[in-house]
Amino acid sequence: MQYSWFDRHLKWIYTLPAVLFVLLMMLFPIIYTVRISFFEWSMSATTPPKWVGLANYYALLQDERFWHAVGSTFYFTLVALAAEVILGVAIAMLLSRNFIGKNLVKTVFLLPMVATPVAMGLVWMLIYEPTIGVANMMLKSLGFEPLLWLASPSQVIPSLIIIDVWEWTPMIALIVMAGIATLPSDPYEAADVDGASAWRKFVSITLPLLRPTILVATMLRLIDVLKTFDIIYATTQGGPNFASETLNLYGYVLGFQYFKLGMASALLVLFFLLVMGLTLLMIWMRKRLEGAK
């Protein structure tokens, strides 16, 4: 039996649209950014890009503001991620019980996740306002000193972390709740027979069984927290005095305010490698944990 050319190459023909899409929409921007990072270019139509080799990378590594942005990015990411995972798991446990109005509570709880980040950033800006904001009004009513929140270089990142935790803890909780719903009942029945306490069941059964789910949720959030831009840009734009300037924001400033496209691209290449490295580390950790089971 003779097969036509079409039949023989069917698997390639069917996958071609997806391959072309990936090449055009994902690989091309990455390759273009890497290429631009070796040039000096100010987006001018009259001055063509000038080849500078690794000079942009060298300049970046000598730049104090870059290292400050690296520090701010890690500070923001690590604290926000830890808080979101701990709170997300705790809230998922809380909302997985049966109680009256459970669906209403779950709906309200998931609202921050679906709200527009820029709009919520503006709402939080007014909540944090040092003179008329509700945050200080509450602190004063509880007998505490008012804070400067977003206006203070030392308080700005914790304030932004609170916004991020408020907005994205529901996502972690939602994933963990889905994980809890799939847990088998047998281990709990056996634990009940043995007279195990609720805490013992949580530590010895729920947490180990939920570990793969929590790791996936953590990985997804890690990638997203590292890249946070909208909330920071809407509330502080990296200020005061660059205190909340993360790598993503510094890249934007370099590219679209200072028009140093080459340096901005170099920063984004390094940032891309960092995000990819951390993601691969998480995948490796997950595989290792699965292998250890």
Partner: protein, 55 residues
């Protein structure tokens, strides 16, 4: 005794759930209230949570 303890735990968990609900809904409540107020009323933190506006 065990029944009483379970009731206490349930009450505590319900209170915690309510607290979580209030914290996560608060910015939306604030946004909703602000949408019914004038610029001056929003800027006056003392009267922000009054339903009737200025007293």
């Amino acid at each position: 005794m065990r029944k009483k303890r379970r009731l206490g735990v349930n009450l505590l968990l319900s209170a915690l759930t309510f607290l979580v609900l209030v914290v996560f809904a608060f910015p939306f409540l604030w946004m909703l209230l602000a949408s019914f107020k004038t610029q001056a009323q929003i800027m006056s933190s003392d009267h922000f949570f009054c339903i009737h506006g200025e007293r």
